[in-house]
Each structure stands twice: as C-alpha cells, then as structure tokens.
Symmetry: C2
C-alpha cells in the first residue's frame, strides 16, 4: 500500500530477527527520514560487508580475512580451542575478555529435525585441528540446553580417541544471580560445583 520499493524494504527488514512487520515499518521510515545520516551509511556498511566478510576456513568465524584475526594472532594459544555453537557466542566470549585461546564455531547444534549432522558442523575439520596438536585442550562451550549438551556429548565421544584434554565450562550461579530467582537445575549444579573458601 506504500510505494513498491518501500514495501520491499519493509518485507526484507521484517526478516531480521527481532523485527516483526510493525517494527520493520518503523525501521523503514526511520531510514527514509534520515537518508544521509542513516540510510546511506547503512547502505555503505552492507556493501562493505557483502564484499569483504567471509567465513574463516580454520575456525568458522566471520571476518574480513581468512584465516580470521583470531586464528592469525600469534599471541593466542593454539593449544586451547573453545568450541561454540555460533559466532555470537564467540563475540560474547571476546567481550568477556577472559579467553586467550582460539575458537571453533560449529554454526549450530546436531539436529535430526533440521538435518544438521556432523558434516554441517565441521566436526572433521575440528578433529583434524585437534589431531595436529598433541597437547591441545578442547573446551566444549556449548549452551546448557538439550541440543547443546547432546552435541557436546557427541563431540566428546569423537574427540576421545585423539587423546586431547576435553573440558566444559563451569556451571553455577550467574554473577549477580539471586538464589531466589534461579531454577532448580542451576542451584543443583552450583551445589555440586561448590569450592572451598579462604
């Protein structure tokens, strides 16, 4: 009902996660109202990304270089690989600034329903990386969900023959978490993972 190019813009914006038809209309109008300060820069940023961003052939991260900046960084420990489901998990871990190793981005979890098998997740690529380094530690940093843990279990089985050290993230209270509001599973895990004080 608006002009066809605007309708097309709204339709595509509505495909972005977090935007529905209504917020896509608002977003389209925000862009059209600010042609020079918002629409043009976004256009340019999308062009640069379309032209330059690719997947790292080593770890599956997205970057403008292949291997990505993390895989190419000599200061990052090549004997410590953190396996994550998605690039957003890698970003989150980088924001935390607590990890100085490298990554392996699966791109999802095993799912019979969505026909995601070991091949789609680059498991062979991970096994080859691990086999190349005898003293490597693989941290399975998958979500604490059924899909995440099923995948972690599968990966642990596949990695066992390599002799690599295999670990997972610790479970427990999130920082700032109030006992009152936490689920039973988290509380049980926190209890099981208790540490001596002082």
């Amino acid at each position: 009902m608006a002009a066809a190019p605007i309708e097309e813009l709204v339709r595509l914006l509505a495909k972005l996660p977090g935007l529905g038809p209504r917020s896509a209309r608002r977003a389209a109008l925000a862009l059209l109202r600010r042609p020079d300060t918002l629409l043009a820069p976004l256009l340019a940023a999308l062009e640069v990304c379309a032209r330059n961003v690719r997947r790292c052939s080593v770890c599956g991260n997205l970057d403008t270089t292949d291997p990505c900046a993390i895989c190419a960084d000599p200061d990052r420990d090549p004997d410590l690989v953190l396996v994550v489901e998605q690039v957003e998990d890698l970003w989150a871990m980088e924001r935390a600034g607590a990890f100085r190793g490298r990554y392996h981005v699966l791109g999802g979890t095993l799912s019979a329903l969505d026909a995601v098998g070991p091949e789609e997740l680059g498991v062979e690529r991970l096994l080859r990386r691990v086999a190349e380094r005898p003293r490597i530690e693989v941290v399975l940093a998958l979500s604490a969900t059924v899909a995440g843990q099923t995948t972690a279990h599968y990966l642990a089985e596949r990695l066992k023959p390599t002799g690599a050290r295999i670990t997972r993230l610790g479970y427990g209270l999130p920082v700032g978490g109030e006992l009152n509001y936490l689920d039973e599973g988290t509380l049980a895990a926190a209890l099981a993972g208790r540490r001596p004080v002082g």
Copy 2:
C-alpha cells in the same frame, strides 16, 4: 571486537527503532549468514529507496513520485483531507481501507522542547491547500495524547478563518476492547459519544 565492517554494520543497525545493541548483533549475523538471500536483496532495496523515494510536496507522504500516488489519484476526494502526524499513521489508515480522501502529513506535533513550530509541520502549506477548496472538510486525525491534542487545537484555530469544515476522529471503545481493561478517559469519551441503538 568483530571485524571493523561488521562492527560498523552492528552500530548502524542498532540505530533503527526496535533494535538495541544485542538485537543489532543478531540482525547483522542473520544478514552475514544469508549473503545471497537476505543481505543482497536488502542492499538492493535500500539502493532503490535511496534513489527513488522522496517526500510528496503536496501532502508530505513518502513515495517514488511527486505528487504521491494518493495525491495524484483522481478517484480520491480532494475535498476531504485527513491530517496525520506521521507517515506510519497514513499507512495505518490506508490498511484500514476506510478512507477515500487525501492526506496531510505533519511530520510530528508542536513541541517547544524539540523546537518544532508551525513552520516545521508545514501548516502554511495546509492552509493554502484548504483555502483553495471552499467545500473542503479537514479531519484532524492526531493522536489522543497531550502533544497530539495541543497540535489539533492549534490547527483548528488556524483553520477556522478559512471557513472549512473541521472534524476529528470519534473517541470510544476500540473494537475488541473489554471495558474491564480500558482507562477512565476512554470510558468517559465512549459514554459521551454514545449512540441510539436500533
């Protein structure tokens, strides 16, 4: 912490209404994961909009033509002008499919704080349009907010000398609205606007 072009894309997406930093990251990744089916079409749609969409010099609507399709449509009554705050209000009214007149898009409401005066809202342009048609009806379809009603009151005062018929939208229960959940103002307005039955 991601590559600079990706960070730039996230920064710009986060400026869209409805997207915060977190959802902008998710949206950027959704685009980068689907370069051919989402990123490229969005890029093309933005380009087409940047090149072709402009403001209608008659009513302030956004369209690829000037005057816009509504102002140029001979089947739409030129003696009935609905004044709205924003283009999204025009779109909402068009979706309702109940209005066969034309529009005047103010682009906002009067606001001393944001330095929005009659000039920014194109009030003179509206007055000229109205003065040209002696039998015109102007429907003030502004929001039932303080800002909307202040602006409607101002417009009514300015329009009075033209002799035009000036109306506003009816107030009352929204369709599907339950009395139980409606505010006192709406209930009072619905009572005042009651109609005979049968």
